[in-house]
């Protein structure tokens, strides 16, 4: 992943998002309707609730070439299915089974909890996350 020099222009981010959180209808454009409009190299795949996000999905995103992964659900406290986003957050924090594998780079994995009225804020955060991922990748190269 980090063999070639990664920078803000080619770092890839996968957002696995609850379909009810940031409303991405009309926000998606391009290939297969999965590119996040306005943010380069950011892709979105939707699930009915962030509680459905399996650790394996996150692993699969990293294995398929994502440099950073965002799991996104509604604001904590407000889940259409009561507890999905809390469960998802607990899995990201490693306190709820099934656990995320240790090989997954936790520092390049992020949980975002936002509602559909926060689309612009969401895009800024994805942009910022890309910067964080670039920094993190530099650190990892140094360590190696």
């Amino acid at each position: 992943m980090s063999e070639t020099e990664k920078n803000i222009d080619n770092v890839k981010v996968m957002v696995i998002a609850c379909a009810r959180s940031v409303n991405l209808e009309g926000e998606l454009s391009g290939l297969h309707g999965r590119n996040l409009s306005g943010v380069d190299n950011a892709y979105v795949v939707q699930v009915p609730c962030s509680g459905m996000i399996q650790p394996r999905m996150i692993e699969s995103a990293f294995n398929s070439g994502a440099d950073g992964v965002i799991a996104m659900g509604c604001q904590i406290g407000d889940c259409h299915f009561r507890e999905g986003n809390k469960f998802c957050r607990e899995r990201l924090l490693g306190v709820r089974p099934p656990m995320i594998k240790k090989t997954v780079p936790k520092n390049r994995l992020k949980g975002l909890w936002m509602s559909e009225v926060q689309v612009n804020d969401f895009k800024n955060r994805v942009e910022n996350f890309k910067k964080e991922v670039v920094e993190e990748l530099k650190l990892e190269v140094k360590k190696a």
């Binding site: 890839k12 290939l31 297969h32 609730c49 459905m52 399996q54 299915f81 507890e83 089974p97 099934p98």
Partner: protein, 383 residues
């Protein structure tokens, strides 16, 4: 057509709520966001009412001759009696208001139909029960207002065809207001109050972990508001009921007694013609929006290891574990109760063995989507 309009209302309402929610989250934090306790808040007021009601009951006398005096005694002689009475009065209003806000929120966030239908029906029942409790509570004071309520209520019930005559005797026996009126009112007030608990049990059915308690901070805030209002606007009785004088006016508690001005304005039969259809519409509201095709989660018996994680995570008690005797080395298997399933996928997220899947959202398809987006999306594509 109705379905389309209602769906639109719900969509727009949801956005308004989300904006309020966002602001409250920034001010209060999600832990103390009152919006997230919209169901627990009426519950909190209910316990305030049980407690203050019990204290009032200690000095209340349930007879025609003594009821009014005993309420006056509580208000004037018992230490903090006026406060307890005020709390009982205003917590009741607060509870009704909180219930309406709760109903509005679950309606606007589309959380009242399909797999939540039991909660909606029982919620309507709970609200009607609260109205009866409130109206009968105002009879117990036995001031002029109580007298008008008894008279109008009996005539109102009497206006119903077939059963009306019998029902009106619930309050007035042989056209005479007697102690029987009082004991009946007390029975309705206290008896239905206690049966709220039974109806609440039904209300919470199918919810794995209902949120029934507010936080300490919110509890203190709500109790504080009720206390301040009770101190600023003491609850008082009107003049004692007097059968020789026909009272013409009384203060209306709009949360519980709104039906009396309606009766006065349009007459009894028309009030029934407004109230009953309204109740029917509210009850069938969930059926007015067309449901999507329902395809419950299903379990792959070959992959299920009986780890229970999905049944623990299911928010609607739709998954239970059953012993298996199909020769598998595992002792239990997860079973999905189709009509309870919300198709939320929480069970899928809890399963590490790909043993449970949503037919409309298969996890292998999600994984493929992720792979394809990343691999094929490598080249930036113009929109």
């Amino acid at each position: 057509m109705i379905s389309v309009v209602l769906t639109k209302i719900v969509r727009e309402g949801q956005k308004v709520l989300l904006r309020i929610e966002d602001i409250l989250n920034k001010i209060l934090g999600s832990e103390q966001n009152v919006l997230y306790y919209h169901g627990a808040i009426p519950n909190f007021f209910m316990w305030m009412l049980f407690l203050s009601g019990l204290l009032l009951f200690a000095y209340y006398t349930c007879t025609l001759e003594a009821a009014y005096q005993s309420v006056e005694y509580i208000t004037q002689k018992i230490p903090f009696g006026d406060m307890i009475r005020g709390i009982h009065r205003y917590a009741a209003d607060a509870m009704m208001l909180a219930v309406w806000l709760h109903a509005l929120r679950v309606y606007l966030t589309d959380r009242y139909r399909e797999y939540r239908i039991i909660a909606w029906y029982s919620g309507v029942a709970l609200t009607v029960m609260m109205l009866i409790i409130g109206i009968s509570g105002y009879i117990l004071v036995w001031d002029e207002r109580s007298y008008i309520i008894v008279k109008m209520m009996s005539e109102f019930l009497g206006a119903l065809p077939f059963v009306g005559e019998t029902l009106s005797h619930a309050f007035i026996n042989d056209n005479v207001i007697s102690n029987y009126t009082m004991s009946m009112s007390f029975f309705l007030h206290a008896g239905i109050s206690l049966s709220l608990l039974v109806m609440l049990w039904i209300h919470y059915m199918r919810i794995s972990r209902p949120l029934v308690n507010v936080t300490w901070a919110i509890g203190c805030l709500l109790a504080g508001i009720v206390l301040v209002v009770s101190a600023l606007f003491p609850a008082t009785s009107g003049p004692e009921a007097n059968f020789t004088v026909e009272p013409t006016y009384f203060d209306i508690d709009w949360f519980y007694l709104w039906i009396f001005p309606v009766m006065k304005a349009v007459g009894y039969p028309l009030t029934w013609l407004i109230v009953l259809p309204a109740l029917v519409v509210v009850t069938i509201l969930p059926s007015l929006i067309k449901s999507k095709d329902h395809e419950a989660a299903n379990v792959n018996a070959n992959k299920c290891v009986g780890c229970k994680l999905c049944s623990v995570d299911c928010p609607y008690e739709a998954i239970y574990m059953a012993p298996r005797n199909d020769g598998s080395k595992f002792k239990e298997i997860a079973i999905v109760i189709d009509e309870r399933c919300a198709e939320c996928g929480l069970c899928v997220g809890a399963c590490n063995f790909d043993a449970i899947e949503l037919p409309f959202n298969l996890s292998p398809v999600v994984m493929d989507d992720i792979r394809m987006a990343l691999e094929e999306g490598a080249e930036p594509v113009a929109a």
